[in-house]
Amino acid sequence: MPTMPAGTLYRGKVGMWSWVLHRITGVAIFFFLLVHVLDTALVRLSPEAYNAVIGTYKTPIIGLAELGLVAAILFHALNGVRVILIDFWRKGVKYQNVMFWIVVAVALLIFIGFAPRHLAHVFG
């Protein structure tokens, strides 16, 4: 019977999962940004063209996807600050674990402040 490899200081812990999430959210934001620069460029074509495409941002499905985008940004940005602190702050490594949970808590707080308002705009 193959057994599960035991965890290490890194594997299966906050260090690994924060890296996985940071990577996935980074890729997601990157692909959004490619599309976003293109849709913004439509302001050079005509007001009608821009309004038609930005109109899709206001539909329920894309509106919900925007919540996902904001969640991804919140995690990537705040965890990015955590990574910077681990690299440059003397006590960064010591507190990396606590800082991860602070990142999650702050991201959650901002998200809770944002989501109801955004949903009201999309569905109201």
């Binding site: 990577r23 980074g26 890729v27 934001i29 990157f30 940004l33 490619l34 620069v37 293109l38 913004t40 460029a41 302001v43 050079r44 005509s46 007001p47 009608e48 821009y50 309004n51 930005i54 941002y57 206001k58 509106g63 925007e66 904001v70 940004i73 940005a77 990015g80 600050v81 990574v83 910077i84 690299d87 440059f88 944002f114 308002r117 955004h118 705009h121 999309v122 109201g124």
Partner: protein
């Protein structure tokens, strides 16, 4: 050809500028600035006023008639695209096992980055909030009624 991974603590053997180090520093410097730029962008465009409901051509016309937001968006455009592209390069380096595939993907990434940075920059600099012949009700209120 298999990849040779050097001992982590062996001294650097290659000559010339250490681009990996500059890339590493850039990820951190741009990241710190992007927190402010992107949070500000999302706050003004998604949170204030009517949020996403309020965004249309006239909204962009209002923002980009103010040099403050032009500089803001240009900084965000350059910093975010180069940060994102360099991050994607790291990921490609991690997962592409064939050297030819890796090279092609990295070239493609920087090609896309260059095109979009150029496009986005031109859009900001050549933007006209009151294009001639456009329907007046779609334009910002400061445009002369046509």
């Amino acid at each position: 050809m298999s990849v040779v991974i050097e001992q982590p603590r062996s001294p650097r053997s290659r000559k010339g500028a250490n681009w990996e180090k500059y890339g590493w520093m850039y990820m951190r410097a741009s990241g710190a600035l992007l927190v402010i730029l992107i949070f500000g962008h999302l706050f003004t465009n998604l949170f204030l006023g009517e949020g996403i409901k309020a965004i249309d051509f006239a909204f962009v016309g209002g923002k980009w008639s103010d040099p403050f937001w032009k500089v803001w968006d240009l900084a965000m455009l350059w910093l975010a695209l180069i940060h994102g592209t360099n991050g994607m390069r790291t990921i490609v380096n991690d997962y592409a096992s064939k050297e030819a595939v890796r090279k092609t993907l990295v070239w493609a990434l920087w090609g896309i980055c260059a095109v979009l940075v150029t496009l986005g920059t031109l859009v900001v600099f050549t933007f006209d909030p009151c294009p001639a012949g456009a329907a007046a009700e779609l334009l910002p209120s400061f445009c002369p009624a046509s």
